[in-house]
Symmetry: C2
Subunit: 718 residues, 2 copies
């Protein structure tokens, strides 16, 4: 071949390289695009040329496939799938048990260092060759280790002398899907349910495997695939076969399937005359049903139950307690290793007690009465996934009961899938809250990970924001919330900044300026949403039903579903008095937190109106009156949202064009809606404060009547 000929071929090959396709978001953070940094690419090509997985279980095969695909994509080379180490650059992955080689490479390791799910990643020299070992006591640990290595490469982390030891802090790391069998998703804003019940079990959508991969990559090991407002139909045989088909796809990725149990199923689906948990026929029905489920799904995880809450049936319908109900189901699944997750989200319109207090009132007396395989699942705050709430006072208050937290990844009260609100700071704020349950330093995270009361059955649930939208979550940045939940469930001590950094590098860009700018936006975004929606401890003033736009004026219907129940604005002031002279919700917190919240001078200002009803002229630490501060915060939120849009526009040409346009359109909507929130709320609250807007704070664009008169139809999320 002549040089001219070679040059022609090179040019031809270059010409035939298609431009990279625009990023539609489907690949999430597992993009595996070729590394663009030449030096790093060179390092990776040298360090990661082969994969040797010792063992052939389905989970190990999944790890191997992912390593071959991921490393192949990122290095732009075909990765060799080898059986022996004949040169350097091999990634060796397996369990200590299945692989004498791995055991020999890490000879000093104590049993239990990794457990079944943890792992080591180490650079070692074997017969003069530098290799990377991914090792665990269990197959799942190997899979998680493989994803960890892929994350490091995807983030551009140097691979010299790797030495990673990881182990999850929480045992059950679950997504909760509020997906209905007709494919609508309650509080779902990313299209419709990914579970195509009609075509299951015969048609296996490619989505299922990619869903499993994404979850495994962040350590999620279970999914409750049906809505907590449950349908007994899913417990019938045709549907269980469909569920089993999903479970088959999930199994190689270490993900167990759970279902929601409709408490009245024995009557609705079983033809019994009762669903009383102490009735022998009911007990037998569930026991048989559970045996049927396990015959189809040997690793079925168990049940999640919403009972006697918002119209759902439950044991109280038969004069029994939550413990009676949970224990009956727990006994049914116990022989198979299953668990029951019983939700503490209960409140009753007919009980004349502050809604925020009812869960403690109902559940604390039951502490110690639950079976060993029951967890009580508690929302992060005592009301309902508000932009800001104090942590739920149940955390720390049930020493004999495993409590798992329920976070909401889907943004029911946070602008749906249209607003960029990075939720890691919200999750982190809750997890790092000090309950003082066993003195200072008893954080919610310590409750969740079992360390506070020495529990080994631990869990964290996140209500999924996933749907049929091509990018899974509707908003590209919704992916970051899914990602953050998984990472925090694995390791609650991670910071929001660390998580944002990982996600941005894997999803958008390695450019340090871009990473820094987007990270700043993400880390401030939750506070921004709090500002334009519910500053200073305000809560639950969203429009009734869809919870999307502002509705501080909502005063019709069930009292504890109205806004006026929560903000209590009048001409004297605003806020919910939960002090000892008010509802006394402060008393549900351990000392000294009860006093801290009770005392105006120590109550954090960001929770002020959660705990106190204050006069409009109350003087804030800023020196402003409460009214002025409220105006200032709303205004600040709207300005911040506008600022995100302006910042994003500086990224044109620096990031993928489809990502750019997608997010820009949504930031424009967010900015518009932030102003709408600001204007509607200030117009409304001014009718009580009867005070002018402080200087520099513009008046609302329209009248209160205008905002109250806005009507919306078919808002997503049913």
């Amino acid at each position: 071949m002549s040089v001219r000929g070679a040059t022609a071929i090179i040019l031809w090959l270059l010409g035939s390289l298609m431009p990279a396709r625009a990023d539609d978001g489907y690949r999430l953070w597992l993009k595996y695009d070729q590394i663009s940094d030449r030096a790093y690419l060179k390092e990776c090509v040298k360090t990661l040329n082969s994969v040797m997985v010792t063992g052939d279980s389905p989970v190990l095969m999944a790890a191997r496939e992912e390593l071959l695909t991921g490393l192949g994509g990122m290095t732009g080379r075909k990765i060799s799938d080898v059986k022996n180490i004949t040169r350097g650059g091999v990634v060796v992955a397996g369990t200590f048990k299945s692989s004498p080689l791995i055991a020999s490479l890490l000879p000093d390791l104590q049993t239990g260092t990794t457990g079944e799910e943890g792992y080591l990643i180490k650079t070692v020299t074997h017969k003069g060759k530098r290799i990377i070992v991914i090792a665990s006591e269990g197959d799942k640990g190997v899979l998680y280790g493989a994803f960890h290595l892929l994350r490091l490469v995807s983030m551009g982390v140097s691979l010299k002398d790797l030495s990673v030891t990881e182990k999850p802090a929480v045992a059950l790391r679950l997504l909760n899907h509020w997906d209905n069998l007709n494919r609508t998703v309650e509080r779902g804003y990313a299209g419709f349910s990914i579970w195509n019940w009609h075509l299951l079990p015969d048609y296996i959508s490619p989505l299922y495997k990619d869903y499993a991969r994404a979850n495994a990559s962040i350590g999620i090991n279970g999914a409750v695939i049906t809505n907590v407002n449950a349908n007994a139909l899913v417990l019938t045989e045709p549907y269980l076969r469909k569920v089993a088909a999903i479970a088959d796809v999930m199994r190689p990725y270490g993900i167990k399937i759970y279902l929601t149990a409709r408490f009245s199923a024995p009557a609705e689906a079983g033809g019994l005359s009762t669903a009383d948990p102490l009735d022998p026929d009911v007990i037998r029905w569930w026991s048989d049903k559970v045996a049927e489920i396990y015959s189809l799904i040997p690793d079925f995880g168990g049940f999640l139950v919403k009972a006697n809450s918002e119209g759902q049936p439950g044991p109280q319908n038969y004069g029994r307690t939550h413990a009676d109900g949970a224990n009956m189901l727990a006994d049914a699944v116990a022989p198979f290793g299953g668990v029951v997750m019983w939700r503490a989200f209960v409140y009753d319109n007919n009980v004349p007690v502050d809604r925020a207090m009812q869960a403690c009132n109902e559940f604390i007396p039951l502490d110690g009465l639950f079976r060993k395989n029951v967890l009580v699942q508690v929302k992060n705050g005592p009301v309902d996934f508000q932009p800001r709430e104090p942590f739920h006072p149940l955390f720390g208050s049930m020493p004999s009961t495993p409590l798992m937290t329920e976070f909401q990844i889907t943004q029911e009260y946070l602008g749906c899938a249209t607003h960029l609100v990075f939720l890691a700071p919200l999750f982190e704020e809750c997890l790092q809250s000090d309950t003082y349950a066993r003195g200072e330093g008893s954080t919610v995270a310590d409750v969740i990970d079992g360390s506070l009361y020495g529990q080994s059955l631990t869990g964290m649930a996140g209500v999924a924001n996933i749907g049929t939208e091509r990018n899974w979550t509707g908003h590209l940045f919704g992916q970051a919330n899914w990602y953050a939940f998984g990472r925090l469930a694995w390791q609650p001590a991670l910071t929001s900044a660390e998580i944002a950094d990982e996600w941005i590098r894997m999803t958008i860009s390695h450019d340090p300026g871009v990473v820094e700018g987007i990270s700043r936006m993400m880390l401030s975004s939750r506070e921004t949403a709090v500002n334009y929606m519910t500053p200073l401890g305000l809560h639950h003033i969203m429009a009734q039903g869809h919870h999307w736009g502002p509705g501080p004026w909502v005063d019709q219907g069930r009292a504890d579903w109205t806004s006026v129940y929560y903000h209590r604005a009048d001409t004297a002031g605003i806020g919910f008095d939960r002090t000892v002279t008010g509802s006394n919700a402060v008393s549900q917190y351990f000392p000294p937190l009860n006093d801290i919240y009770n005392d105006l001078t120590t109550c954090p200002e960001n929770l002020l109106l959660w705990f106190h009803h204050l006069p409009w002229d109350y003087r804030m630490s800023s020196g402003r009156t409460l009214w002025d501060e409220l105006c200032y915060r709303y205004n600040e939120g709207a300005l911040q949202a506008e600022g995100y849009k302006a910042y994003w526009e500086t990224l044109e040409g620096k990031i993928d064009p489809e990502q750019y346009v997608h997010v820009l359109q949504l930031l424009k909507i967010q900015s518009k809606e932030a102003h709408w929130w600001r204007d509607a709320c200030l117009a409304y609250f001014q009718t009580f404060s009867r005070r002018p807007f402080p200087s520099g704070i513009g008046k609302p664009d329209s009248t209160l009547e205008y905002y109250r008169g806005l009507k919306f139809y078919y808002v997503p999320g049913i």
Copy 2:
């Protein structure tokens, strides 16, 4: 550079070529993958290296973008966007008017040869350089010509001495979306509506443009984006702004937007006390509303109306005729050039006349009474999109009224999105049917294209099968039905075989054996479905409501929605007597067709039970009894469906693996469901025939009670 160095670079570049990603179907028939045939690639690289579009209208810019992208993808080269012809291999595209160059290249052309939508594609020599010219009298013609050239390349057609002249035979080539504002789709089986009403007009999904491209590529020039079971909300200002945003995306692709008009909108959305079409306030309301629409959407197409049918409001509610209603709306849109499409799908449970006859009874007396801008939209058959019906007797029967046909692309009665049923043969069968309206050779196509009665306002509508599924249509082969509809609306004389050949080459493979095998499957698939569902002229024996599975036993509810109304099986025989001694529906056809259908000896066997009630022992042309023939046909259908599955398995490794697995899974379901149809119908009809199954025809797998007892929930399509 040394040869060794060059070789290393070549190897490096080869190594970095990622394997082609599996085909998820999103790109439809516009895949633009690099040509694999080396000789053809060489020809294309030489013949198609540059694009020169003369003019800069949005439509021409869309043509340019498509040519650059499409030719770039298929040749694997960057295509030059040039302003002058300095070498051969330029594609010059533009209108005669805007480009003196083009006018000079085709000097002998008569005005009207192409019209606004037709085009020429010619290879010409210009100053010694071989170039390809795409020319039209209108911008849209240039766009269609560009897509035609891309189709030729995509199919691998030789580009030597091109000489193409095309002109659409039908003026309005429209998709009808039965999409609701809550994003459900009536009779939609491919997910949910692509129109994201909640985020419109601010968020423009990338789907919209790709939808427009796909439609333009097959000549579709309009879309009715809302359900015929209409919601007046879409006529309110916030929704019209959303519609306008969609129209803005469609406009560069020559696609006009139409809406369904809920006849009672003046009362429901306008606050009037009536919607009487002769009421001055109602007339004014519509007139104002139309002016509002055109102020937002200057090229708005007009309205499609379903009135006084299946519970929809209409002029008859006020004692007026369909013509009164249509004309009132027609007068409102006429000043803006809009049209009204008035559906003839009407039938009344309270009228004791054969449902198949009611449209003629209601509409023929109105012939000549409609305004010039009204079309009456007629389903292909007189009942409702059955696997086989005779053509609708209205075709040919309203000489003074433009009739457009309404085909159903979505497979309401043809296995939903799960069955492979290529509909071109069904469409073709209808279009080529001879109505005898003006003597022999008066085909339905002649009615539709206006040639029979000299009409220039012509149209063809197809009820879309499009949804949010990644591949748009749920089943890969559903894309072929969308494609076929567009191609036939452009040119009703195309054959199913031609259309299948185009689609297969563009979508699946160029391998002659593969093309031939898949084509054979496609071309037989409609007859296969007829066989396993409704052979010999049976019709409307589907399960009630969802129309998916078999339900020949349905006898409850509104009579003309039951199966027994249509099959009339009893111990004496089976079939609907529509002869002169029966319902006399045959009389609605022109002579000699009325006699042909009426006479047992001339009635086509594939419509036998549509027109005749016959004894079980009636002797068929095969020599078999009617009962045996029925068994034979059902059995044959099930075997054919099984055969498709077996054939598809031979394609493993020969086609894209994702396409392979996707279709294989669906063919397995189809085979299973074909057997279900066969077994359920034969088990049911045997209770009347009281005859044994002929030898070689296996008994149903289960009892009739089993099939009748099957219950399904949440079947897609609402």
